[in-house]
Assembly symmetry: C2
Homo-oligomer: 141 residues x 2
């Protein structure tokens, strides 16, 4: 990384970020979801996160989560569930409809990704996934 000039490094990351964003957008909008909604559904699938946890995961202010959940709840994709231990907290659960749509999004995204990386070696694909996983932890920490 020291051998790369700063602007080149940033351009690489910005470029990858925007292409990923494009893929999220192209995959989620035909399903009637914004990219942010699709991402929130993915996070909600296994976690049943609180509003504060979602704000942390999505890196946005907690006030945004209210509206985001409102719109998904109005469509019957998620429900608010009061936390049993701490009555200040509300947890977000997927409904069966939300679970189904989340899986459809994941399948569509996976198909698009697989098709675009079809020329990659198995080793490179494995490396990419390993490094992304590791980088996510590093950036989060």
């Amino acid at each position: 990384m020291a051998s790369t000039s700063e602007d080149e490094l940033i351009e690489t990351i910005v470029g990858f970020f925007r292409e990923t964003d494009g893929l999220f957008s192209a995959t989620s909008r035909p399903l009637g979801l914004t990219p942010q909604q699709a991402q929130m559904l993915c996070f909600t699938q296994h976690l049943q996160p609180s509003f504060g946890e979602l704000a942390g995961l999505l890196h946005c202010d907690k006030t945004n989560i209210t509206g985001l959940v409102d719109r998904l709840e109005k469509r019957g994709l998620v429900i608010r569930q009061p936390d049993a231990q701490d009555r200040r907290m509300t947890r977000v659960h997927l409904t069966p409809e939300g679970e189904e749509l989340t899986k459809r999004f994941q399948h569509a995204f996976n198909s698009a990704l697989t098709s675009r990386l079809r020329d990659w070696t198995a080793a490179d694909r494995k490396d990419l996934l390993r490094l992304l996983r590791s980088a996510t932890t590093a950036l989060r920490g």
Copy 2:
């Protein structure tokens, strides 16, 4: 990739995407820029892109570029420059102030990134950059 379930794969990519987004946001907002504005400035630095090219790079509708450029132009960071060959086209150039702010953003982003990846091996950092570059091309194609 075949050995990973779809939801795990998507969660990895969504996770990395959101962490990158968080880093963009944390780096750009103290400079008075939205993440999208910072990203546009990075693309504009070497390309002098047309509005249509920017729409392609940012994966958004061309109508969004008008407002994005309007706001940056009002702050004196970019200027519209008519294309010499095709008078329908307008190209976006950085002003000296825009160039300076873009470099400040790049430096801040690079510092944050370097500090978070400080425990990584040089080989892993090099691999990450190589794979991101390659993946960007694959996703774009």
